[in-house]
């Protein structure tokens, strides 16, 4: 198979098991986003794939060839680092040329290829500058050019947009998918930003406590997060979680939480257990007049986000709920009514945090 397959990658620092058996397969031309909270081991996994983590065990197979015992210089991977990791004593041109120099490419060809990729990434005018004379955006593009120039089979991008400003991050979010597709490498892209994950990932793998908690299409992760933590991390503003104890009802369960009364189909296993009802802020609707089934609440504050109104409300019972709507809302202090959409409601076990979900199973990402 062309692409990357890793099997049973494990890494341990002292008594701390950082990676506890990771299996993933990424096809050539595909972008897999590796998502997870900080400290989840995302960077360690990338390093293990690149051959930079001597303590890691497991198999790394690139285009069908087992490279587990190869050094990083002979795996033919390209990598971009969160802190750019440019060579400070070399010009941008020499930074980009480095992988070609290692491969003994002729000087003429190096010039041509560096020029071409620099034009593509719009850094041709700064090639003679040392890294310290570059803006953060230019540094990031230089690092990306260096990762791409030798046409590696595997591209490992470690949160490359973290240290650039919002505008450039947005531009790159639009440009990167095409660039990555055209490179035809199997790409693993690390990020903590769920929007980036959704924008760039053909698939998303969520790394949590050293294992892949969930792997699938980005909107599947968003719609059906495997557990409470994934649900909280994947979405902004984050999901509302309300304690509840579902009761058995015809064809499903009845849930009463923070004044909401919802009937959900299937999911009978939740009956009688301590659970959390998950309501994404954008699935709640808000009205300034009483509505059937609506929960009365007061608006505590309105904090707009991305052309939407993020409304912090407090129900009569004192429960805080975040609502995100695209329309105008009454001012802070007003009395409103909230309505939940049972089709978008999620139920999690309170203790383990696992999603209780009947209709669709959550799949893994191994080969």
């Amino acid at each position: 198979m062309s692409g990357l397959a890793i099997a049973d990658i494990r890494a341990q620092f002292g008594r701390n098991e950082v990676l506890r058996g990771i299996d993933l397969a990424v096809a050539a031309g595909e972008t897999l986003v590796l998502f997870g909270p900080s400290g989840a081991g995302k960077t360690v996994l990338l390093r293990a794939i690149a051959g930079l983590e001597p303590g890691a065990t497991g198999r790394v197979v690139i285009d069908g060839e087992d490279v587990s015992t190869h050094g990083p210089e002979s795996r033919n991977v390209g990598m971009a680092f969160q802190n750019f990791a440019l060579y400070p004593h070399l010009s941008a041109r020499e930074n980009i040329a480095s992988p070609l120099r290692a491969r003994g490419v002729s000087a003429g060809e190096i010039d041509a290829r560096v020029g071409a990729i620099a034009r593509l990434l719009r850094i041709a005018h700064v090639l003679s500058h040392p890294p310290r004379a570059l803006s953060n955006g230019q540094k990031q593009r230089t690092a990306l050019a260096r990762a791409l120039i030798a046409e590696p089979r595997i591209l490992l991008l470690d949160d490359p947009l973290r240290n650039v400003d919002a505008k450039l991050r947005y531009e790159m979010r639009l440009e990167l998918p095409r660039l990555l597709r055209e490179s035809n490498a199997a790409t693993i892209y690390v990020t903590q930003d769920y929007r980036e994950a959704m924008a760039l990932g053909d698939r998303v793998a969520v790394l949590q406590n050293g294992v892949i908690a969930q792997c699938g299409a980005a909107d599947a992760v968003y719609d059906l997060p495997a557990n409470r933590e994934v649900a909280r991390l994947f979405g902004d503003p984050p999901i509302n979680l309300l304690p509840c104890r579902p009761q058995a009802a015809a064809g499903g369960i009845d849930i009463e939480a923070a004044g909401f009364r919802l009937h959900l189909g299937a999911r009978e296993e939740a009956t009688g257990k301590d659970c959390l009802l998950g309501l994404r802020p954008e699935t709640l609707s808000l009205s300034d007049h009483p509505i059937a089934g609506g929960v009365a609440a007061d608006i505590v504050a309105i904090t707009p986000l991305h052309e939407r109104q993020v409304v912090l409300t407090r129900t009569a019972a004192g429960e805080e709920l975040v609502v995100s709507v695209a329309h105008d809302v009454p001012k802070a202090g007003s009395h409103v009514w909230l309505l939940a959409d049972p089709r978008a409601a999620l139920v999690f076990e309170a203790s383990a945090g696992k999603l209780i979900q009947a209709p669709m199973a959550i799949r893994g990402c191994a080969a």
Partner: protein, 358 residues
């Protein structure tokens, strides 16, 4: 309390090597208002903040707080509470002691403890009150620093990047709680930030600075609807405003060199090179006189971002619903006349076309 900056300037160095960090900034902040000083690094917002706090002298101009001229006073005499970007918590004190540190002893021990408890609860740090700052995460330290500033009694609250390190999962709720607290107590707050989402979320009015100059000072909605110039227009808004060049052909205005723009209600000034600004959220997809090829279509859970290749540029449109067009497909799009922004291509100033009565 009201804060007034009158013709405030800050110059570092002298002569040819002088750096004008802040140039003639005047702004008046009403009591009980939350104002965000927004700009990228080096725009002068931090120098302005430091002049208000008293860590830096004004080179020219004056600062008045609650009717008192404060720019010549020592920082301690200004009655200003501040949350520092680098937290600046006292390492040997616990979080609780840090928060209580700025409170007047006259309040008495029980009252201080009560206030510390209240603000800690609001910022979700009740469980770490007895811990030292060194063992805490960046987000926890930032919340402690914010709590220390807000617990104090002051005429003005200066918050320097107060929420940048907060855990994303807490941000929405904490932003809401802090905003509600500031409003409920009627505090006057100046928030310094480079993050427009934070400015947007928190502020009643935003002051955008660039190159030491105050570009625009108005409520966030107005800044989106009526940006003063091209800089503000493209700086504010996420994703940023689309900018397309316009050409003139006699009385007609041409978009992308060929498509005549028929404007019914606006008459644009003649003999200027113009650019058209379109907010991504205001572009209508699937209908309209323009067509382009979808370059990418990204669904972000609660909104779709569609990049359309049009006249050799990428036009970004945002839709609250999923858009069915895949990359490579043709898509029609358009915009309402009142959503179009026009700018002078040379000066960047916004042009308010003469409205023709309907």
């Amino acid at each position: 309390m009201s804060l007034v900056l009158e013709h405030v300037s800050k110059t570092y160095g002298v002569g040819a090597s002088a750096v004008h960090a802040v140039r003639d900034v005047s702004l008046a902040i009403a009591p009980g208002e939350i104002v965000a000083l927004l700009g990228s690094s080096g725009c002068g917002k931090t120098s302005t903040l430091r002049m208000i706090a008293g860590f830096e002298r004004v080179s020219a101009g004056g600062i008045t707080l609650a009717g008192r001229r404060i720019d010549t006073l020592a920082p301690a005499a200004r009655r200003v509470a501040m949350a520092f970007e680098g937290y600046a918590l006292y390492p040997p004190l616990s979080v609780g002691e840090n928060i209580g540190f700025g409170l007047s002893r006259r309040l008495g021990r029980t009252e201080i403890a009560k206030r510390v408890r209240e603000i800690a609860e609001l910022l979700d740090i009740s469980d770490i009150l007895s811990r030292r700052p060194s063992g805490l995460s960046g987000g926890q330290q930032q919340r402690a620093s914010l709590a220390r500033a807000l617990a104090r009694e002051a005429d003005l609250y200066l918050l320097d990047e107060p929420m940048g390190q907060l855990e994303p999962q807490l941000r929405a709720i904490l932003r809401g709680r802090v905003k509600a607290l500031i409003k409920a107590r009627g505090l006057t707050a100046v928030l310094v930030t480079h993050d427009q989402t934070e400015a947007n979320a928190m502020a009643d009015r935003i002051a955008v600075m660039e190159a030491g100059v105050l570009q625009q000072f108005c409520p966030p909605a107005q800044m989106r609807e009526q940006p003063a110039n091209l800089f503000v227009a493209t700086f504010i808004g996420e994703p940023p405003m689309n900018v397309l060049p316009l050409e003139r052909d006699g009385n007609r205005v041409l978009l992308a060199g060929t498509i005549p723009l028929s404007l019914h209600s606006i008459r644009l000034p003649i003999a200027r090179t113009l650019v058209l600004g379109l907010r991504p959220h205001r572009i209508k997809l699937g209908e309209g006189p323009l067509t382009g090829v979808v370059s990418s279509n990204q669904w972000l859970g609660d909104q779709a971002h569609v990049a359309i290749r049009f006249a050799d540029r990428l036009v970004v449109a945002v839709s609250q619903a999923k858009v069915p067009h895949a990359a490579g497909e043709q898509i029609a799009f358009g915009f309402a006349e009142e959503d179009a922004h026009f700018f002078d291509a040379e000066t960047g100033d916004a042009l308010v076309g003469e409205r023709i009565p309907a």
